[in-house]
Amino acid sequence: MKSSMVLVEFLLFPGLLFTAIAGLLTTWVDRKVTALVQMRVGPPLLQPFYDIRKLLIKETCVPEDGAVGLFLLAPLLGLAGVTLASMILWRTLLNVQATFVGDLIVLVYLLVMPALSVMLGSFASRNPLASLGGSREVKLMIAYELPLVLAILVPVIQANSIRLGDLLTAQAPIFSLSGALALLVCIACTQAKLTIVPFDMPEAETELSGGALIEYSGPPLAMFKLTRAMMLFTMPVLLVVLFFGGVVSGPGWLPAVTGFLLWFVLVAVTIVVRNTTPRVCIDQAVRFFWGPVSLVALVAVMLAWLGW
């Protein structure tokens, strides 16, 4: 493939532009549903776009004592990570044979980038509240990555491949016991990966006044917000690909519609959980992920191994 073509794919479709628009629309769904749950009216459809545009024209304030280069590069890292991840996912969805063997592993690494960028940015800003937020982000990531990777192993074992295209065309793992358990684990981990309630302690507005992102303003903050929005869109897509592969692949419009509905259900679950729980403490979160969640993930892997 020509390099110019890759650039177009990265910047326009299915990379940055497409994922950003889809992500911002997803945040609108999130905000609207949240508003309805909370007996409010909610924002108009384009509000997320206005918010980003407003941040883009604002001044960028840089902390005096901070590591300026790292502080400004960190948001780019997260944005690049989620863009690449979404690009790989969508290339597979559009053409099953488009990607390479082992793309799933690359994807898992790329999806760590947003969390990593928050950590780097928070420590680079040298603010005590940001440091606290950053350290919480580290702990949270250590907590949820283990069960998440274990749960992703389940479809891999069932399809006997580490290529997204093969997972997509294989029998959907959700119809097995191990697949169902792994999906539950993944939903819990997604909530933490997106750092939304009950796992939003790195940014807990009411405890750390924005925590990890406290020093950010203007375009860098917009990038973080955009990264967050794109993750909110991409993570459910990944779950659909991993666990509903057989259902959403194939010719015709039916699999596409089914895929969209499944994606919507997963987003809705995230939104409902976020509106019906309080924020937990970081120690409670770590105990939750290393205790019951890891255990369920481990059981799921064993069941998958045994062919359940």
Partner: protein, 409 residues
């Protein structure tokens, strides 16, 4: 190596939107020391009060706090009535109690919403404030205002509750039962709320007594005090109600006490309304003068006992007026409850006493250790201010209006 860092909450609180400064000294996420700094918002209410007539004073104290805007006037008029031995018609007493209890419901709902927001449960926040609107509507129906009611005056109240309005008020009140039950069930049953509130910020009964804690903060620790029952005033001796207490004194108990108190308040208001419907009569004894003397007045505000002292010399204005708001006693208990907690728990613990800073603000005066002299007087502060302005003008090269020389000494 000293690993302590300071996590500042304030000087302007991100959520409570009031000026106060809690310095959390933390090691990692654990709080090892707490500095409480108040006094950013001194308004000189007590001194102002001495320059106003008794009637005007009531409007002044109403503005001490936007939430306790009945508690302060009620305590104040009772102090004036105590000083002047002014009689109050019975009907006015019932109206005072009814408005006071409505204020308690709206204040507790406000706290509940904030507490939900503090632990990241925004749905509770929005719902609690949504149903608080209904309470404010009732208050508007009765008093004409949503927040500053202007109802109290020495010798009675300013407005009667129309008998034709009573069925509507009663119906609106009943419609509040279900939402409050919903909140009660949410708090009592939700395991995640338990995980965040149970066993943290414990104030033992002994410590509550030592610090002189008041209101729900004290009652949650099993310290059974309530001036509505202990020092009867307004219509409370004629009403039947329970004082809610809990045992453990953690954040959970403080929430439970407040929620259950809302049911008691509804009960009290219904009794008041029944009495108002049955009887008639004046609501104001129209006192013309306040004879020389001194008096005290207290009222169980939503946060605890609010206390006013008024001295009169027979003229039309108080010569001394002293206010003590409940948060003044409750905020220091944070030093007991927050130590050993994590930063995550600290915010909800600090908020659990339902602090009201604008009620509490006092001027701080620094006094030398050895000579007992004031370290800075007003003239010193003016001098410091001028020096800083000069320095900033020199640094930035900006020119401001020049200050008159007499202020520079």
């Amino acid at each position: 190596m000293n690993k302590r860092t300071i996590v500042p909450i304030g000087p302007y609180h991100a959520l409570q939107e009031e000026p106060e400064f809690f310095k959390l000294h933390v090691e990692g996420e654990k709080v090892v020391h707490l500095d409480i700094e108040l006094g950013y918002n001194h308004r000189g209410i007590e001194k102002l009060s001495e320059s106003k007539t008794f009637e005007e004073t009531i409007f002044l104290v109403e503005r001490i706090c936007g939430i306790c805007s009945t508690s302060h006037p009620l305590a104040c008029v009772q102090a004036v009535e105590d000083a002047g031995e002014i009689p109050v018609p019975e009907r006015a007493l019932f109206i005072r109690s009814a408005v006071g209890e409505l204020e308690r419901i709206h204040s507790h709902l406000l706290w509940l919403g904030l507490a939900g927001h503090f632990i990241g449960f925004n749905t509770i926040w929005m719902w609690a404030w949504r149903f608080r609107e209904d309470v404010l509507n009732i208050l508007e129906l009765i008093t004409g205002n949503r927040n500053h009611y202007g109802m109290m005056k020495p010798g009675g109240v300013r407005r009667d509750i129309n008998k034709t309005d009573i069925p509507a008020i009663s119906k609106l009140l009943d419609s509040l039962q279900d939402p409050i039950k919903l909140f009660r069930d949410a708090v009592v049953q939700d395991p995640l709320i338990h995980a965040r509130t149970k066993g943290i910020g414990i104030l033992t009964r002994e410590k509550a007594q030592d610090y002189g804690a008041l209101g729900p903060t004290a009652r949650a620790s099993g310290y059974d005090i309530d001036v509505r029952r202990d020092h009867p005033h307004a219509a409370y001796p004629m009403l039947d109600f329970d004082v809610i207490t809990c045992e453990k004194g953690d954040v959970f108990d403080k929430a439970v006490v407040r929620i259950l108190e809302m049911f008691e308040s509804i009960r009290i208001i219904q009794q008041c309304l029944t009495q108002l419907e049955k009887s008639g009569g004046p609501v104001d004894s129209n006192p013309k003068t306040v004879p020389a003397g001194e008096g005290i007045g207290f009222y169980e505000a939503p946060r605890g006992e609010v206390f006013h002292y008024v001295r009169s010399d027979g003229s039309n204005r108080p010569i001394r007026h002293k206010v003590r708001a409940p948060s003044f006693m409750n905020v220091p208990t944070n030093r007991e409850t927050v130590l050993g907690a994590t930063v995550a728990d600290a915010t909800i613990i600090l908020a659990a006493v339902d602090p009201c800073y604008c009620c509490t603000e006092r001027m701080a005066v620094a006094v030398g250790h050895h000579d007992g002299e004031r370290l800075l007087n007003a003239r010193d502060l003016m001098r410091l201010s001028c020096e800083k302005t000069d320095r900033l003008m020199a640094e930035t090269g900006l020119r401001g209006p020049s200050l008159p020389d007499f202020q520079r000494e």
